[in-house]
Symmetry: C2
Subunit: 436 residues, 2 copies
Amino acid sequence: MRTLTDDVKNYVGKTARVEGWLHKKRLLGGLTFINVRDRRGLVQIVLQDKDEVEKLRGMQIGTVLAVEGKVVEEPRAPGGAELHDAKLEVLVPVTDEPPIEIDKPLSHKPDNLDTLFEYRALGLRNLQEQKVFKIRAGLLKNIREYLTEHDFVEIQTPKLLAGATEGGAEVFKLDYFGQEATLAQSPQLYKQMMVGAFERVFEIAPAFRAELSATTRHMSEVMMLDIEMGFVKDHDEVLDLVGNMTTDVLKKIYDQYAAELKSLNAPELIVADKVPKITVAEIHELYTKATGTDTTAEKDLTPDEEKWICDYSKKKFGSELVYATNFPIEAMKFYHKINPDDPKTVLWGDLLFRGLEIATVPLRENHHDKLVEQMKAAGMNPDHPGYKYFLQAMRYGLPQHGGAGYGIDRLVEKTIGLNNVKEATLFPRDINRLAP
Amino acid sequence: MRTLTDDVKNYVGKTARVEGWLHKKRLLGGLTFINVRDRRGLVQIVLQDKDEVEKLRGMQIGTVLAVEGKVVEEPRAPGGAELHDAKLEVLVPVTDEPPIEIDKPLSHKPDNLDTLFEYRALGLRNLQEQKVFKIRAGLLKNIREYLTEHDFVEIQTPKLLAGATEGGAEVFKLDYFGQEATLAQSPQLYKQMMVGAFERVFEIAPAFRAELSATTRHMSEVMMLDIEMGFVKDHDEVLDLVGNMTTDVLKKIYDQYAAELKSLNAPELIVADKVPKITVAEIHELYTKATGTDTTAEKDLTPDEEKWICDYSKKKFGSELVYATNFPIEAMKFYHKINPDDPKTVLWGDLLFRGLEIATVPLRENHHDKLVEQMKAAGMNPDHPGYKYFLQAMRYGLPQHGGAGYGIDRLVEKTIGLNNVKEATLFPRDINRLAP
């Protein structure tokens, strides 16, 4: 019977058999100490018998072992207990020295990221590295629970499409049995179509963007949370649902993963009851006044403004989450809704968290004829097969609706306080990296 | 304030305002009855006032409405109550007659499937159709819960790859910034690599296969559940985990969605405590003896054998789930483990349910040098960048492990008793269909 490492302490005075990887080996006062790692953590083992020590000759970190020994209380050992008089069995020998050291903290400095990703599968044998992906799984679990409790149906829509969802050049193309197909940049049109059936839907799925740049915030394959909800009174109802979800999920994560976040040096979480909303025009004004750099002519927020407004919101409203709303019409996509009270702006909010945009949260134009007009104004062809079914759903009745395109990788990055979205991704993809 | 349709019955004697789609309209005894649909179901509304009836002139099914009226108990109405003296507001008019009728059962006959998928977004406004996708969401929720409780970490691996995962021709290729990339046919190599970090992982994600055939069981984009677990004693441990998960999840679904499954005419669920295991050789023998058709020279199971063995298992073991095990070595993939007790077979089981293979559950070869040998024997190049990182993980120690490639669409199909995997998919993809 195998005992998992975090359970060893419950066998003090008895014998336990652990199975795992050789994680560390050292000599101390004539004794050999090894650490063995399994999915729950580490256990320390003292090898007294020379024959047992001999079995490890030439065996490198990563060697797969079964170890049986007497469990002894030892406050200085991980878990508070260790194995003595251990007998070893080498299950899978490793005779090559691994190219990276996994029992020490891995460097995440910008210059070392390439090494981090090159040896990702080995680096994740480090317990600190694993925490990032356990927190990521926890975030997704909490998001699913929140949305399901709020009557959203989780759907899966196709990634192989007949046409580009959003227009633009950043789309991967492929041959689909002799026909040109594109890889979905988002489930935008499908989730809107599904409002007509389920009212409230969400999807968590990869999205593909042929981003020509290699930045700390972009990848060519990202994990998106897409939310869409119908019968909303106004834009605020959508902003509040997505804002409340984020606040709720972050609070839970900071509670459920308190120890992990602390050991990863995550900043303290500061959130308010409601995510504050500031218009883009107001942000330009505030920023210009505070910094002396005039951004009032900018259409979008500059990256520095995104950081600045998050700091401002934290100080002024006690919230690291803040919405920038009412984007200028020049930045709009064809499916956005123009603000009837100020037709130079669009009912579109960006959710910012710790200096980074993590979600785009607009209201949609839900009237068929107006939408066709907006498509034509954007130079798009409403008769293209990629849009035909979307317009079909509009023609047969969609209520006022809105939703979010939410970057999961960015949420994980900022929750933990990482510096690059790729650090929050198991195997990141960008213009320079297609492997591992 | 909006009242959802299933909540209307709690307002008897009071006024309620519902918002939804015009779902049905009929005249009866000089009165106009309409059904309004929202995300919870239908409510019946009686229009007495001529001005209100007039507002619906020219309005087709799908018109988005807000309706306020007095709630009256009415046992014959959906939900047991209806609205009287209703006042209407047309929120979004629909003036074109929809191309399909959504208040009647939609035909799923093979000849009508093309129409079903062509108008999928509208067809899903039918409440019966929606049930399929609510059950699908429920299955995925229960699977996630089961695996998380069993210490599996949910991961997301890339779909844009440097090389074909499994070899073979059925792979989509695309240009990735001047380099050739392939779309993942499965997360096979990544999940095995992640055993080295987390021991137990799973992923639920789309997989892409350039299937040249159009059958009832294949699509070019499928939703796969991939499971992988390390430190397993033997193949049985993997088979039992996947079998027990399936039994547990199906029992829960048949409990949680009893009403929906009944109204969809799903068959009664018959499962045993454990999923029985029968070798492929035994199945050939049993089938040959029972039917007179000699299959003993076949490598794989024939589709008819898959159906037959499920019937056999149901009668003999009281289980609609059954494993076919020990596949002949001719059918093996390079990462499978050859059976040491019978080197003509592979430690690989297929999970069959109601006549269809829903999962492939093999043990893996986890020794680096043996794996390289098997790759070469399969005519593959171990130095290809698509395999380099996989072999790196092997070289630095992976314990004995196995897992499952599990077809979610097929599981949904067979759980409900549909006849085509595409009926279980929101927007199916095959050689003939890339839209909607």
